[in-house]
């Protein structure tokens, strides 16, 4: 078989094997890829970063296990950013099935900070630095209700404390005290936040979503309804880059590690397409010559 014929008929299993290899190796060897942050992610970063001391950030962790790979790194990066810069954080989930993942991300990041803390001031303390509101069905109830009073909707937090007795909640009454809400989701939840919380109460909404919904959500960012937008693993990697570069946040960069796999995978696919076309080109020329 000649070379160009080989290019034309590469066995699918060879393609699969190479793809599997280039995706797995960077994951095992953990080499994060430096990325250049783009403006939709930068705007989200700046909105969170510029939260004044008397306001808070809400992080809505409404992502299902199926999309965890894409969205969980966003939750972790956001939490690290907020805790590092001492922003007040409210965490919630709109669906009970998703509360487990929210708890996991929260515990992980709080643990990271507290394992390094030397004094109570350095630590991240529940009720002073963050509050986990848990969930309150159906989604529309908290979306609308928090516009008037957060502690009236979440009377007790996830751990059963009276929400209005927590120190941090003293200055946080409703959306007027929330600088931005970041919705992490794989569905149309961010659009509901705009429809209910933004249109009625003027809440700023930032979004982290999967690569599939990215194309649908981009117009909302363009019109300014979304303050910022993180799409897929790449968006998460850009956020990781921003918090490391500008705020010196350290920690394992899961999305940036996956970026290398993602890049190699794309390049491998592109190379195979090129190889196929070279083979096709040569064989067509030979055919013409023989005619």
């Amino acid at each position: 078989m000649k070379l160009h014929e080989r290019f034309l008929q590469i066995d699918r299993r060879i393609i699969y094997a190479i793809l599997l290899l280039v995706v797995t190796l960077p994951l095992v060897f953990r080499s994060p890829l430096k990325v250049t942050p783009m403006s939709p992610v930068e705007k989200l970063f700046e909105a969170v970063d510029n939260t004044p001391d008397d306001m808070a950030v809400i992080i809505d962790c409404s992502y299902a296990p199926q999309i965890k790979a894409e969205v969980e790194p966003m939750a972790i990066a956001l939490l690290r950013h907020a805790f590092k810069t001492r922003k007040k954080v409210l965490v919630l989930s709109l669906y009970v099935e998703m509360i487990g993942l929210a708890t996991k991300a929260l515990n992980q990041v709080v643990g990271e900070f507290n394992s390094l803390a030397l004094t109570a001031n350095d630590s991240i303390i529940y009720g002073r630095d963050y509050v986990f509101l848990g969930w309150q069905p159906p989604p529309i109830v908290p979306m609308l209700g928090m516009g008037e009073s957060i502690s009236a909707i979440y009377v007790v937090d996830y751990y059963g404390n009276q929400t209005d007795t927590l120190a941090m909640m003293k200055g946080i009454k409703n959306y007027n005290n929330i600088n931005i809400l970041v919705a992490l989701s794989g569905s149309s939840i961010p659009i509901s936040w705009v429809a209910y919380a933004q249109n009625r109460y003027g809440l700023r909404v930032g979004v982290g979503c999967t690569a599939v919904s990215g194309a649908d959500f981009y117009p909302y960012y363009q019109t300014g309804q979304f303050t910022g937008l993180m799409v897929g693993m790449k968006g998460a990697a850009e956020y990781e880059e921003l918090i490391e570069r500008r705020r010196g946040v350290e920690g394992r960069r899961i999305a940036s590690e996956a970026m290398l796999s993602l890049t190699y995978a794309h390049l491998v696919i592109i190379l195979f397409i090129i190889a196929g076309n070279i083979g096709y080109f040569i064989s067509r020329r030979k055919q013409r010559r023989s005619q």
């Binding site: 995706v23 890829l33 981009y218 592109i270 397409i273 196929g276 076309n277």
Partner: protein, 219 residues
């Protein structure tokens, strides 16, 4: 009669569907809600009995006649039987009469779903990554104008969405967004308009009894 009654019913039901759009009055809407949420959902549940009957029959038959790969049918039947019993008697939230845990080992239907159905489905989704690669390799050849367009657009987008895209040109990611928002939307909208007209026409034909393939055989 065997055809007339169904045709009359489909016409009446179709009118009810259209009317639900026209009349907003609660006197009608509460009744419409009952059709949707009670009547039609109950119907779909009964159809399920029929379908599962088909599934079971095919596999029992396979076992009885010792057809090729009949052993696997046992696996399906056991998995189906066990999960149905756990689901029906153990309850959706492990709140039924059947105990669904031995010590700290839980096996209620939600656990089965999360640890069997979700990983299996996620793995099928993971297969897609490989299939995209082989499909792109096979089909993206410059053999015709259409194929070349397909290839070029896919190429630009695949590079443009990578961090690499930004280092090639600052405008590349913007260009990707533009392709998705302008030419892509135009093409899609043209297709959607055509589809919508087809949907309206076919729906009309069904309600009026012109399109009656669904009646199947018999007189």
């Amino acid at each position: 009669m065997k055809k007339t009654i169904p045709l009359v019913l489909i016409f009446v039901a179709g009118l009810l569907g259209i009317i639900s759009f026209v009349i907003p009055h609660p006197a009608y809407q509460t009744y419409d809600e009952w059709i949707r949420n009670s009547f039609l959902r109950v119907l779909s549940a009964f159809a399920m009995v029929l379908a599962l009957g088909s599934l079971l029959r095919v596999h029992f038959d396979k076992i009885r006649r010792r057809r090729k790969n009949w052993q696997y049918s046992w696996l399906l039947l056991i998995a189906f039987g066990a999960s149905s019993i756990i689901g029906l008697f153990g309850g959706v939230a492990a709140d039924g009469i059947l105990p669904t845990a031995i010590g700290s080992f839980h096996f209620d239907i939600q656990v089965l779903y999360e640890n069997i159905v979700i990983p299996l489905a996620s793995s099928m989704f993971a297969l897609l990554a490989f299939f995209m690669a082989s499909a792109a390799y096979r089909a993206f050849r410059v053999r015709s104008t259409e194929a070349t367009l397909l290839l070029t657009a896919a190429f630009i987008v695949m590079i443009g969405v990578l961090p690499l895209g930004h280092s090639i040109s600052k405008h590349l990611p913007m260009f990707v967004q533009w392709i998705l928002n302008v030419p892509n939307v135009a093409g899609q909208r043209g297709i959607v308009l055509g589809i919508a007209l087809g949907v309206v026409a076919t729906s009309l034909k069904i309600i009026l009894g012109i399109e009656r393939a669904w009646l199947g055989g018999g007189e």
